[in-house]
């Protein structure tokens, strides 16, 4: 006998293997995949998802308001970007930059509104968060440094990148808090601390 099973035994085994239940992955897995894919530029955003529309409309209104205010009094913008030394010189650049700054500030508010980091964290996630924070800090340093000699176009690129990184950071931190909220430790289940 090569395997030691009769035909009936093997049939029974195959039937039982086939009847084993499948396991769905936790919801957070898709969010992590999407975050990574977006960070790597693998995904194209949908044209018009409803939530984006609402959010986009709100952002557009905010940007419009800011742009009007800035255009009326170009020498004294009504907001101050995170890097204090930043100034703008033409109205088109103001529109684009104002939008990015508003978005960036909103993301910072979102980040601050999240609960503190959980005590037990995934090492990989934590490393990614630290890397994102370092990259954002590096961008802020560039934008704040009067000696950096950035053109308006360069500044827009930096601000765009800052917004992109902030979105990733907020997403990761949100996923982290969600994971902590539903971890076995919080629910008194076996496997606590595995994360």
């Amino acid at each position: 006998m090569i395997c030691g099973l009769t035909a009936d035994e093997r049939t029974a085994l195959l039937a039982r293997l086939a009847s084993l239940p499948e396991t769905m992955p936790p919801r957070a897995v898709w969010h992590r995949i999407r975050e990574q894919a977006e960070a790597e530029g693998l995904l194209r955003r949908p044209a018009s998802p409803p939530r984006t529309l609402y959010w986009g409309a709100g952002l557009a209104a905010a940007v419009g308001l800011v742009a009007v205010l800035v255009l009326e009094e170009p020498a004294a913008p009504t907001f101050s970007p995170t890097p204090e030394n930043y100034t703008v010189s033409n109205s088109q650049a103001v529109d684009a930059l104002a939008a990015l700054m508003v978005e960036s500030r909103q993301l910072e508010n979102d980040l601050r509104a999240l609960p503190a980091e959980p005590r037990v964290v995934r090492a990989g996630t934590q490393a990614t968060i630290l890397e994102l924070e370092e990259r954002i800090a590096s961008i802020d340093q560039q934008l704040s440094d009067p000696a950096s000699g950035l053109s308006a176009a360069d500044r827009e690129v930096f601000w765009r990148e800052r917004v992109r990184l902030m979105k990733l950071l907020v997403g990761l931190r949100y996923a982290q808090t969600q994971r902590a909220a539903f971890s076995p430790a919080r629910q008194g289940l076996p496997g606590a601390g595995v994360e």
Binding site: T6, A18, P25, L42, R45
Partner: protein, 199 residues
């Protein structure tokens, strides 16, 4: 159990995914994430590892789907990626422990599976789950690939960088461990008695 081959998606979804459409990728994920995660969980036994491997699998799908020509079914293609990722993970774990594919039976004390309270009666799934979990990683992987996913020994050997004999040997040893579970067949009076010599 829904298998990879049982799932069919519209070709348009694949085309959209090839263009990076996030909705199309989400559809693909919803369709295949359960079999992928189940496979990874069977291989690794650890939910955290299975989650990471599921993530790696679908990221690889996103990276490579533009090159997917439809020569095989989408499910088979995704399964191949998942199997490759999971085997790479197991290889790296073995490497870290300075072990090879061949010696992990030494990690398992004979009769381990029988100490899990395997009975011939209720909850066969749980019994089989416990018995599978008690098998060495390689043997469990071979059983899953051969008996659930339908891989041939030749294919398994190629994936593992081993010979067909190695795959057959692993399956045979695994069967010996699982045999006590198959009591109902034993109980059947004068079962066919045919002994399988090839798979």
């Amino acid at each position: 159990m829904a298998k990879f081959a049982d799932i069919n998606l519209d070709e348009a979804v694949v085309r959209r995914a090839a263009g990076g459409d996030v909705r199309a990728h989400e559809i693909i994920y919803r369709a295949y994430s359960t079999p992928v995660y189940t496979l990874c969980l069977r291989f690794t036994k650890a939910p955290a590892h299975a989650e990471d491997l599921t993530q790696e699998t679908f990221i690889e799908v996103m990276r490579s789907i533009a090159g997917f020509r439809g020569e095989s079914a989408l499910g088979s293609w995704i399964r191949r990626i998942a199997v490759t990722k999971a085997l790479m993970f197991l290889r790296s774990a073995w490497t870290a422990r300075s072990q090879s594919f061949t010696d992990d039976w030494d990690d398992v004390t004979p009769g381990d599976n029988l100490s899990h309270g395997i009975s011939r009666h209720p909850d066969d799934a749980m019994d089989l789950d416990a018995a599978l979990a008690s098998l060495p990683d390689v043997a469990r992987t071979v059983v899953w690939l051969h008996d659930v996913e339908g891989f041939t020994h030749k294919e398994i050997a190629a994936y593992m960088g081993k010979t067909e004999s190695f795959s057959k040997s692993q399956l045979s040893r695994a069967y010996q461990r699982l045999k006590p579970l198959l009591g109902q067949a034993d109980d059947a009076p004068e079962a066919s008695g045919a002994v399988l010599r090839t798979y």
